[in-house]
Amino acid sequence: MWDYSEKVKEHFFNPRNVGVVRDANATGEVGSISCGDALRLTLKVDPESGVIQEAGFQTFGCGSAVASSSVLTEMIIGLTLDEAERINNDDIANALGGLPPEKMHCSVMGHEALQAAIANYRGEVWKDDHEEGALICKCFAIDAVKIEQTIRDHGLRTVQDVTGYTKAGGGCSTCHEGIEELLTRVLSEKGEAFDPENHATEASASAKSAGLPPMNIRAMAMGE
């Protein structure tokens, strides 16, 4: 049983703004039926002020998907599009009193639906830059796609490297076998073998010796 907050349950059992907004002038449709979540968000935006006057949702999904959609509509009604655009998925999760790590993607879906609807209103095409993989690190909600991409981008070789760049594996450490499997797979693409005896790459080791927290290591490595 998921540890859903009271707020999640409240929104699930009494969802707000259900359905399609009449005379909507913005629509965002996102989701993935294979992972069981899909959301249509419709908005009525005042062309003069750019204020979102009405918002409605239709969701195929679990308790937290319905709750994320519902709370999102409450959050954005009355905001201008520019203000709404700044809402990210953490804001949605926080508005619900938090979500279990396995369910963070529900808040991501809400964020993406909003982005898609805003793009639709402006006559743009929203592009998804985020592909979702199987959840590896439950402490920090990091999925396989993100880890594999980071291993590739930065030529990582060890579990420590992965933790340094993504935080994955930095908590309870029980996902280290999974991270080793990803390292093995990505390194083999380059014809290399994963060596558990390997030391961390220089970037992550030097950042570590400088005493920087993991996120800063990442910023450093990316030259930010």
Binding site: S34, G36, G63
Partner: protein, 402 residues
């Protein structure tokens, strides 16, 4: 209102008579059966009786063919790894796409270690591809591990005839019978089944105890080595209260077998008919004519299973679902996918699994609340219109993949 429990394929309540039988072994009868004094001696006798009770339920020829383990998963691992280790020259394994993870994940690990795994597929009703089975049986196969009954749909596999086919080719045959034992009559001495796994908590014994049946004379390699417990085939001090409980539960299962196959089946069928009559766009998954008497798996189209379970839970009703969300994975149940059930239905599949403790009033209560739950969720669904699915649902709503 009294809660209604219809998730017995996940776990069962411990029968009060089982609790009564096991309690003394948590208090005054605390001895170690291996000890030479009277504390141990009495416990040793009780273990012997429990072993015989399980032997009767399984129709095993010898009580010594029963090895007590900690759970069904341990039994499955022990069986497959034993077959592999005892026959290192055989590098192939046959199983199915719809096994429990206790078998699938062991096979996957062996695959990484270089084994070839033949996973038999199923058709839309969940029936096994036996032609494929015949094709891959060979002297290269260490073991065929095929479940007796599927945990999600209740679909039965013809394990007795498949064991005969394996025997004819000299291949060891293991069956994960965790869902079948106690619900169907089993008489192992008249079959070619070499190994069978069962789990205590699926038949009204407590969690933490299971059995691996190993036919006398079968080449066997233990998973746990150490002391001489279970004749050296499973070292470790016995879970005495659990084993005693499982023995009693096995005895009771035999007594209630007819009830399970008649009254429980009638209740299940009543539930099925009641739900299908009232709820449009819902269908039963699995092999309807050949399944466990207690299991009903229904796919409610265009809505998602976890949402259904949350609403049922609010009504005090416990069931389970094959949706991705209930497990936190990104894909719906591998069983639904293997049967080719469309995603919009697979995510909405709900399993009701009954036991001898369920009543007709409970079934009628589920039939009463379910239509409203489905209607409420369909009102939220982008695939649902005013009074039915939108025209060509997958076309009408095709969200950007995220």
């Amino acid at each position: 209102m009294k809660p209604i429990y219809m998730d017995n394929n996940a776990t069962t309540c411990v029968d009060p008579r089982v609790v009564e039988t096991m309690l003394p072994f948590l208090t005054e009868q605390f001895g170690n059966p291996s000890s030479m004094h009277r504390f141990g001696d009495q416990v040793g006798r009780a273990l012997k009786r429990a072993r015989e009770q399980v032997q009767s339920l399984l129709g095993a020829e010898h009580a010594s063919e029963v090895i007590f383990t900690s759970c069904g998963t341990e039994s499955d691992s022990t069986a497959i790894l034993s077959a592999v280790r005892a026959q290192p020259q055989r590098r192939e394994i046959i199983t199915t796409e719809v096994e429990h993870p206790a078998v699938l994940n062991v096979c996957e690990q062996l695959e990484k270690e270089g084994y070839t795994i033949h996973r038999l597929g199923v058709d839309g009703q969940g029936r096994l591809d036996l032609a494929h089975y015949r094709e891959v049986l060979s002297d290269q196969v260490a073991v065929a591990s095929i479940m007796w009954a599927n945990n999600e749909t209740g679909t039965l596999f013809p394990v007795e005839s498949m064991a005969e086919m394996a025997r004819a080719k000299g291949v060891m045959f293991h069956t994960d019978a965790v869902q079948a034992v106690g619900k169907l009559p089993i008489d192992l001495k008249y079959t070619c089944i070499d190994m069978l796994s069962l789990s205590g908590h699926k038949l009204h014994a407590p969690k933490g105890v299971g059995v691996l049946y190993v036919r006398r004379g079968l080449r066997f390699r233990p998973l746990l080595r150490g002391g001489h417990q279970e004749r050296g085939r499973r070292a470790g001090t016995e879970n005495v209260p659990g084993i005693i409980a499982l023995g009693r539960a096995a005895e009771l299962a035999l007594t209630h077998m007819d009830d399970e196959r008649r009254r429980v089946r009638v209740l299940r069928d009543r539930l099925e008919t009641g739900l299908l009559e009232q709820i449009p766009h819902a269908f039963v998954t699995g092999d309807v004519d050949n399944r466990l008497p207690n299991t009903l798996n229904i796919a409610f189209e265009y809505i998602e299973g976890e949402s259904i379970l949350l609403m049922l839970n609010q009504q005090g009703i416990a069931a389970s679902s094959g949706s991705a969300c209930t497990s936190g994975s990104l894909e719906p149940s591998h069983v639904m996918r293997a049967m080719g059930i469309p995603y919009t239905a697979a995510h909405g599949s709900v399993r009701f699994s009954l036991s001898r403790f369920n009543t007709q009033e409970e079934v009628d209560r589920v039939i009463q609340v379910m239509p409203d739950i489905v209607a409420r969720l369909r009102k939220l669904s982008p695939y649902w219109g005013e009074d039915g699915p939108v025209e060509d649902p997958e076309q009408a709503f095709a969200p950007a993949y995220a």
